[in-house]
Amino acid sequence: MTTFTDPQQDGGFRLSMLLNDTRYRGLTFQFIALLLLIGFMAFLGMNLVSNLAAAGLNISYEFLGEPAGYDINQRLIDYTSQSTHFRAAMVGLLNTLLVAVLACLTATVIGVVAGVARLSSNWLVAKVMSLYVEAFRNVPVLIWILIIGTIVQQGPSPRVYLGDDPERGLFLGFFAFTNRGLTAPAPVWLEGSIWVVGVFLASIVGVFLYRRFVRKALYDSGRLYPVFWPSVAILLIPAIVTYFLLGQPIGIDMPDVLANRFNLQGGFEIQRPLIALWLALSVYTGAFIAENVRAGIMAVSKGQTEAAASLGLRPRRIMNLVVLPQALRVIIPPLISNYLNITKNSSLAIAVGYADITATLGGITLNQTGRAIETVLLLMLFYLMISLLISAVMNVYNASVSLKER
């Protein structure tokens, strides 16, 4: 606030100036606001103290170090019922992040496909897609989670795969879809497998290099090389060759149908709660993303497409070179806030029995220890941190892509 420094020759301070003088008025209001805020906080704080005293409770985070006592079905890090509540929270946190990241990826794919399809010249496809979008946007996510949770429950019992003479064999000899989830063979890393992985990673880099090369070739000599099949070849062939050269150092751990009579053991399992939540969040948010994508593409004026077409560009190139780069600027900011929504909505995990951080820290731990204030506070802090992180990313992005104007 700049102020009139000089014109106040008359000097002297009167009380009425607190309200009437632009120099003090703002300060007065802020002071009042601050007082009110502090008063309000103090009120809450005092209530808290006296309520806690009355109930004989206190605020303490010691419970985080005590054994949790309960088991969690999906653990990305080591965890047993003897681990601490803190570790249980960590398991939940990783589960939250896992489902959020997975759902962000698939929601984007679904959203982009549906958004583009909704603009399709094919009437039926466009209508089917708007049906999808409207149906999912206008029904609460919790209902979708419950419905999809129920759908996922409809699979066969794992028992049909079990035993010497199962009712049905593994799908393609490898996979089992059951009402407990999806079981697939897991890789076993034997000696030398590191090389295969290394080669594979190098191949990924190689694909990018190849794409750079194609572009450069086009720029330098005007020759346009094929992209897709060579990329596939670069990606797969070296890894496969190394794999056989080194004597097949990666084994597979097949789902074991004989271990017990309840579940398939071994292999790699994606559990039903994860599938249900992942699917529900993806299709729900996918509908929103579809709308963003559609809006983004429509924001690129028809003139742009026509101009590109009249220059002789083919539809696919028009999409890649002209429409998408412009549409992305419109699409990405709401896309990022949709990612944030996915993260926040993943807190409904318990509805399908998924052990995210709200279910572990904010659910079981809260209940077993009775530390309501502490756990809820931690929970909020965690989500707040994620959202601040995401909005920081968004700001950086927005700053970097703003169109140059006069």
């Binding site: 720029y219 330098d220 101009a307 190139r317």
Partner: protein, 270 residues
């Protein structure tokens, strides 16, 4: 949209003899036979017949909604026609993608609202199509682009973005962008009607220069000064039909159809 004719009238008077000086070959550039187009059940273009010779410069005018833009856009296959036949440079326009591609790379088009690509620099705007369609090496494409940018007198803006240029400059970039594809025919759809008076002059100057080099041009415009100065022929359309066509001198001074007279009185009496 016909307020700026006066600005050009001086120039036009000086150069009114010019058009005849530019040569028109006998070769046929565009031939439109009995072409009809409907939007739904609305008959936009009715039995259009038009033959354009290589080197001809044709100005199309007519009231709003008379189908001028649609005609131009049909030639470029931006719109489909439903009946009749359009032949461009010997290629018959059909729904065959190859033919459409061939024709589009022969024909450059310049829109009322420029339609530059805002996410690319001026230079990239100009080299995009040569590189990806013509497979010209980048370097060569850039040289060509700079050549045409010099021609439209804005080589120094090459690395700016369209948003940083004035309207007139943008329209000139749009012209340069079309030229970079080395088209044999240029279509203009009211290239100056979105511009301020000063900028109109810049753009018209560029177009005149182009005309003087013998480019085949179809131009929808109401800049009568421009028409007088460069056109071999002025076509007047109304209700989807060609109502009158003539040499500019005769067209302006001695219109035959009543509609043309009415139209001219409106835009010139201003």
């Amino acid at each position: 949209m016909m307020t700026h004719t006066d600005i050009q009238s001086g120039q036009a008077a000086q150069a009114s003899a010019a058009p005849s000086a530019m040569k028109v070959s006998d070769e046929i550039a565009i031939e439109i036979e009995n072409m009809n187009k409907w939007y739904g059940t609305f008959h936009v273009l009715r039995d259009i017949d038009l033959t354009v010779r290589r080197g001809e410069r044709i100005v199309i005018c007519g009231p709003s909604g008379s189908g001028k833009s649609t005609l131009i856009r049909c030639i470029n296959a931006l719109e489909e026609h439903q009946k009749g036949r359009i032949t461009v440079d010997g290629t018959v326009l059909s729904s065959d993608l190859k033919n459409i591609d061939r024709i589009r790379s022969e024909v450059g088009m310049c829109f009322q609202h420029f339609n530059l690509f805002p996410h690319l620099t001026i230079l990239e705007n100009c080299t995009l199509a040569p590189i990806w369609v013509r497979k010209t090496p980048k370097k060569e494409a850039e040289e060509t682009a700079m050549h045409f940018l010099r021609k439209v007198k804005i080589p120094d803006q090459a690395n700016k973005y369209p948003g940083q240029l004035s309207g007139g400059q943008q329209q000139r970039v749009a012209i340069a962008r079309s030229l970079c594809m080395k088209p044999r025919i240029m279509l203009f759809d009211e290239p100056t009607s979105a511009l301020d008076p000063e900028m109109i002059k810049e753009v018209l100057d560029t177009m005149i220069e182009l005309a003087e080099e013998g480019m085949t041009m179809l131009c929808v415009t109401h800049e009568m000064g421009f028409a007088r100065q460069v056109a071999n022929r002025v076509i007047f359309m109304d209700q989807g039909q060609i109502v009158e066509q003539n040499e500019p001198e005769a067209f302006f001074n001695n219109p035959k159809s009543d509609r043309t007279k009415l139209f001219l009185s409106q835009i010139l009496g201003h």
